[in-house]
Symmetry: C2
Subunit: 267 residues, 2 copies
């Protein structure tokens, strides 16, 4: 570690390397996703922390300011920022992920997902990465965090245990703390053995959304509920599909079944 | 945790409290010291992270910009910043501390102190806090980190294990990561049993400096070394006194002995 602000990356570097149980391949399957960030300096700071801890895949969803790729704060992470993906919606950004983890607080909303404290997150991700899954770690906007809609795409929420008197963290600092936990601290829990069942590949977020779409069509076709309930039903369905932790085969089977029922109802 | 940038502190707060083995009393005996910070936004960010993780004692040494107490980035930590101590020299700021820990890298200088990786720091501090000591965690300036002179006041150095390709961390993010480690992660190692010997109170940095001063006088009086070696001798002496981990009684005894010898040499 060097602690600097705007100093250039010193390529002679620290001799310390990341002592982590996450392999390079596993780190390469963790995406950092920023939703509606307002301040480009925070995007740059997130990129810098990613470079510090060996992460490389950044996605930026609906940023407030269009010129975020030039953020001066991305010291030593300029190319990471240039190569970041951008998306209009969170669902797009996490479509190929098998485990979507939202960051944030449990207040002001009914907890609709499982929550784990950050120190326990490494253990949860280890199994997923071990069986070849792709993980997204999602951060909301500086002012309001993740919306209820954003959270409905998350399998679980992770919470940094902060002081009740001042829980609100700066976005760049929160990203740094989470990545330190996963890259450095996670080594103490990563690589825990997984059961045969856990080795099955989980469905991607995009597959779950396609299944949700077919189920929704089926609900409409069947006259399951009135039009004004449609948004609420879609929300609950999303949550449920993620809570079930379906694997790819489960999703394929369910998809086949619902398509068949749809066809039957329509003919 | 809420993740925000400039949002006001929400006093309704997160229900999560810091699950830490450091008692409030122990957290109150850890000082965060920033040496020659250039950017007041980084001072504010450090203060914000301190509030997030339950720390309250900030010292700012020889800041570059005089109006740092108004830093906008200290969201929810305004009074912490107002109450921060300021000092002209690091030696003053840490005078009443019994364990001074520098943060930084080992490159570009011969390692003159013991170094521990950040994940192991909690265990090192636990004993010190347990026996009533006072700990300083010292961060250098954004551009250059701690100087050799600063480091000569440190008992040990802690290093955040960052990627060799981009070791250089932003100051505010480095503070956040260190405080997360101590307040949240440290709980897994804090409270480890200490031996009877370790229970003895360590000397404060100020006591070591006073002892060093008397020894230096004695060296001069004895014609121990030429004038041009004086600065180098002082530096080596400082390092040695800290490496010895002297307790308060050791220092009193050594002080008495050197004063006696000085008196003898002068009469």
């Amino acid at each position: 570690m060097q602690i600097t602000n705007n100093g250039p990356c010193d390529s002679s570097g620290d001799r310390t390397t990341i002592a982590t149980l996450l392999t390079e391949n596993q780190l390469g399957r963790i995406e950092i996703v920023l939703v509606s960030p307002r301040n480009p300096l925070n995007i740059g700071a997130a990129a810098r922390a990613m470079a510090n801890f060996g992460f490389s895949h950044l996605s930026v969803v609906a940023p407030f300011e269009p010129h975020w790729r030039e953020a001066q704060s991305a010291v030593g992470a300029e190319s990471l920022l240039q190569n970041a993906k951008s998306a209009e919606r969170l669902a797009e950004a996490v479509a190929d992920c098998t485990l979507v983890v939202g960051t944030g607080t449990l207040e002001h909303r009914r907890a609709e997902q499982k929550a784990v404290a950050l120190p326990e997150l490494g253990g949860r991700l280890a199994g997923e990465l071990h069986r070849g899954g792709r993980v997204a770690l999602v951060f909301g906007s500086e002012k309001r965090g993740l919306t209820r809609e954003d959270l409905s795409l998350c399998h679980l929420i992770t919470v940094i245990p902060t002081d009740a008197a001042q829980p609100s963290m700066n976005l760049g600092q929160a990203v740094a703390v989470c990545l330190y936990e996963l890259a450095v601290r996670g080594r103490f829990v990563a690589g825990i053995g997984t059961t045969a069942d856990e080795k099955l590949m989980r469905a991607t977020s995009g597959e779950l959304d396609r299944l949700g779409g077919v189920i929704e069509e089926a609900m409409l076709e069947a006259g399951y509920s009135p039009e004004e309930m449609r948004a609420a039903n879609r929300h609950d369905l999303r949550l449920m599909l993620r809570r079930l932790e379906m694997n790819a085969a489960d999703v394929r089977r369910a998809m086949g079944l619902f398509r068949r029922m749809l066809h039957k109802m329509r003919s």
